[in-house]
């Protein structure tokens, strides 16, 4: 009977609990007590160092989707990163940035905050990604204003702020991605330099050898011109490999042509243009000269003077070394002879012969230039009509300059004018005057040489240099971690690098075939190789097994976790692991440059997301996670710490 009572009691208790909705909170006491969670690293751990000035005004501050408010654990997931959530798990409150500043705002320390991570920071090099590089940054500056204090400085700052490690801190370390980016940037610059050198060398060689080529002495001028043009093109907004190579090629060809290379010119075409122009110039010259010398004469006198003067002009013009002066002189003599022969007075005109000659020369020049401009701006392959003024000006200047040279002849002046006109037209896009077959062949060969050389460098010496750089960063970071343990830290959680080859940034380097298959993913594979090299070195130097604590260090396999996220999104309730949640184009994203989707999640919030539900996207921008993704990260770190007995 007593047992009935037990059952009845148990049932009543059960019903009571059921009525309350069931499910209690249980014991939420952390098994391991920590005084604080201290974080060192970069943007992935940064809790808002740059939440100041213009960045703050833009509604940013953290490297994720900012401004999603709500208590930790709420849905949609509020804007906290993994380091903050681990802090909330371990000590009951999210961590905060120990330093504020950057982007033109002076750095200040924040008492009571122990997250020292800063976006852009590297392991040792203070010149992180987006750093001002020592230069002063004006208030309100949105780019190149990050503090990027390296991990070594962050640790020193913590020691300075706190008085040293007590052993009661839980320390998190995640750094290295920016050293990898720096290595990649250097590799790209070096590979481009190698490619440019090969390009310039190939073009120069082609332009100073072979029939009709410029003399070898022009090589230096060609190289200098190409180098300057390519540097200028590379600095231009929206520069591409093609735009840089084209600018360099044009400069090289122009210089070669100016140095006497006729192989790159369409000589027949140019000669035809010049012939036409010269004919018209001669005609204008003759009409003006004859007209001037017979002005105001009686019709009967004009009838004898005109044929006589014209004959003299023709004869003088045909002479070797004919010049305006020699022709004007001959014409004046013929006019004078005719006046004597036929008994009339032409002294007034003869006294003005020099002025008449000048007017005739001007008329000739004008006719020549007008004809050339017309030829160079009309017809197939011609420069656009908008280039007419430039051609005209260049020819005018060339004529003036050539005429001023002692011993100037008509031929020398017209040649100078022709060259100036042709060069300007070529620069403006006239292909009719160029030997495009040859130029294309030279450029094609040079580009192939450039790409081959660049790729050879990138795959060989460049890749090796990048690998050495990240391995050095990993070894240095491991040294800092062990140093913290030596100084009294007892719990240092180190995250290895995620598989950065899976970020939208690295995926964006893949070149696809028309059918969607991968044509070239060597850049992405290089990222993976660098990440693997970093992680291998980090683990080797820390001397630990992944997930197994030893000597105060626990290495978390963030790398595999990120691969799991991407390969098994369903397990993690991720709806998109390839695209970015933030609109990274200008003007929506204040850190983007016009025409490029190169903005940053640092100024991303609910107001400048892409359209649609992005709450369970993996990436906020091309390298940074969304708040939801950060939460998944914190779950993994917590899990590994729990399994290790650290949480």
């Amino acid at each position: 009977m007593k047992q009935f009572k037990v059952l009845a009691t148990a049932l009543a208790a059960a019903l009571l609990v059921a009525a309350c909705g069931g499910g209690g909170n249980g014991d939420q006491t952390p098994p391991v007590k920590y005084s604080a969670v201290v974080s060192f690293g970069d943007s992935l751990s940064d809790t808002g160092t740059y939440n100041v000035g213009a960045i703050k005004a833009a509604g940013g501050g953290m490297f994720t989707v900012n401004g999603i408010v709500g208590a930790i654990g709420a849905d949609p997931v509020p804007s906290y990163n993994w380091a903050q959530l681990v802090s909330a798990s371990a000590v009951g409150k999210p961590s905060c940035s120990a330093r504020l500043g950057g982007f033109g705002v002076a750095e200040t320390a924040v008492a009571g905050c122990t997250n020292y991570a800063q976006g852009g920071s590297r392991v040792t090099d203070p010149n992180g990604i987006g750093n001002a590089s020592g230069g002063a940054v004006a208030a309100g500056t949105m780019t190149a204003g990050a503090l990027t204090e390296p991990v070594v400085t962050q640790i020193a700052n913590y020691i300075k702020d706190s008085g040293g490690f007590t052993g009661s801190e839980l320390i998190t370390v995640l750094a290295g991605p920016n050293d990898l980016f720096a290595a990649l940037n250097k590799l790209t610059a070096d590979a481009n330099a190698a490619a440019s050198t090969a390009f310039v060398g190939s073009v120069t060689t082609a332009l100073v050898t072979g029939a009709g080529a410029a003399p070898a002495g022009a090589a230096a001028a060609i190289q200098n011109a190409m180098g300057a043009a390519m540097a200028k093109a590379a600095a231009a907004s929206g520069a591409t490999t093609i735009s840089i190579f084209t600018a360099g090629g044009n400069a090289g060809v122009s210089t070669a042509a100016a140095s006497g290379n006729t192989a790159v010119m369409n000589v027949a075409g140019i000669t035809a243009y010049a012939g036409t122009a010269q004919g018209l110039a001669n005609t204008a010259f003759g009409y003006t000269l004859v007209g001037g010398l017979v002005a105001n004469l009686a019709p009967a006198n004009q009838a004898t003077a005109v044929p006589a003067i014209s004959a003299a002009i023709t004869t003088a013009g045909a002479a070797a070394n004919a010049s305006s002066a020699s022709i004007v002189n001959a014409a004046a003599q013929a006019a004078g002879a005719d006046a004597v022969t036929n008994g009339y007075n032409n002294n007034t005109n003869l006294a003005n012969a020099t002025a008449i000659g000048t007017a005739a020369g001007n008329a000739a020049s004008t006719a020549f230039v007008t004809s050339m401009v017309t030829s160079l701006t009309t017809g197939a392959g011609a420069a656009p009509s908008a280039a007419a003024t430039a051609i005209q000006t260049a020819m005018g200047s060339a004529i003036t300059a050539a005429a001023g040279v002692s011993g100037a002849t008509n031929t020398s002046i017209f040649t100078a004018a022709t060259n100036a006109g042709v060069m300007t037209a070529a620069g403006a896009g006239n292909t009719a005057v160029m030997n495009m077959t040859l130029i294309n062949s030279v450029m094609g060969a040079a580009q192939t040489a450039a790409i081959t050389n660049g790729n050879t460098y990138a795959a060989g010496a460049g890749a090796l240099a990048a690998r050495n750089a990240v391995v050095t960063a990993a070894a240095t970071l491991a040294g800092y971690v062990k140093d913290m343990v030596n100084k009294g830290a007892k719990h240092v959680v180190v995250l290895n690098l995620p598989d950065m080859s899976l970020t939208p940034s690295a995926r964006g380097t893949i070149i696809y075939n028309a059918d969607g298959s991968i044509k070239d993913n060597s850049s992405q594979q290089l990222v993976l190789a660098l990440v693997n090299a970093f992680n291998a070195e980090l683990q080797k130097d820390l001397g630990v097994t992944l997930g197994v604590p030893a000597n105060g260090v626990l290495l978390v396999d963030f790398f595999t976790n990120m691969q799991n996220n991407v390969n098994d999104p369903g397990h993690y309730a991720l709806t998109n692991t390839k695209d970015v949640a933030c609109n990274l184009t200008a003007p929506a994203n204040a850190l983007a440059t016009a025409g490029h989707d190169d903005g940053s999640s640092l100024v991303c919030n609910a107001s400048n997301l892409i359209a649609g539900d992005t709450s369970h996207y993996m990436f906020a921008d091309k390298v940074h996670p969304t708040p939801y993704s950060y939460k998944l990260m914190s779950q993994v770190v917590n899990k590994i710490m729990i399994q290790a007995g650290w949480l």
Binding site: Q3, F4, V6, L7, A10, L11, A13, A14, V17, A18, G21, G22, G23, G24, N25, G26, D27, Q28, T29, P30, P31, A71, I72, G73, A74, D75, Y80, Q84, L85, V86, S87, A88, S89, G92, P94, T560, N564, N567, D568, G570, H571, Y572, A573, L574, K631, L632, S634, Q635, V636, N638, K639, I642, Q643, L647
Partner: protein
Amino acid sequence: MKHQMKFLAVAAAAMLAAGSVCAQTAGTWMVRAGATQLAPVGPSGCMTAPDYGDGSGCTRSNVSADTQLAGGITYMYTDNISFDVPLALPFKHNVIGAGSLEGAGKLGEVKALPMTVFLQYRFLEANAKFRPYVGLGVTYAYFFDEQGSYHLTQTTNPGGPPTSFTVDAKFILTPQIGATLALNDKWFIDVFYSKAKLSTTTHFSTGQSMNADLDPAAYGIAVGYKF
């Protein structure tokens, strides 16, 4: 099963030969008290997203066994057919991380109260000293007082409010075998084994859930008294 029955029958026959007289006749009431162990099997199925999946693994759990003071009441409807209601204090089970959460320790605890009515068939004669029996019960498996742990919270909702959970109650069938051994006219010893087919779902306050085939086995031993 058949083999085991044969063995029991032989054992019972041997005891009969000893010639004891211990009646379990129609209309007899019996009560008993002892201990019962409830042992669910594991591990559970995968927790719904987000879990810690990696293609081959996922977040699972195991449920520990528990032994409680237990007994029951039996009524002999005929000399061979009886009704039996086992009684027990609630069983307290720990929910232990498994699968991807292997090594994470206790994720929570839950109390189980299986309420069963068995219809039993008792072999041999009413006065046999040893009587094996088989039974089939209808069980209402009820769970209450579920308590999540710190580790459950920190793996499902880091830094957030405590994660709680509830386990769905279920009606199930429970087959049973057992035997009584009469000590004298009034007192006897009862042993039994049952194995239920129980699939239930755990619902977490994070919106996630986890299916589990707990299929608990129950073992009991008790001392009984006949009225």
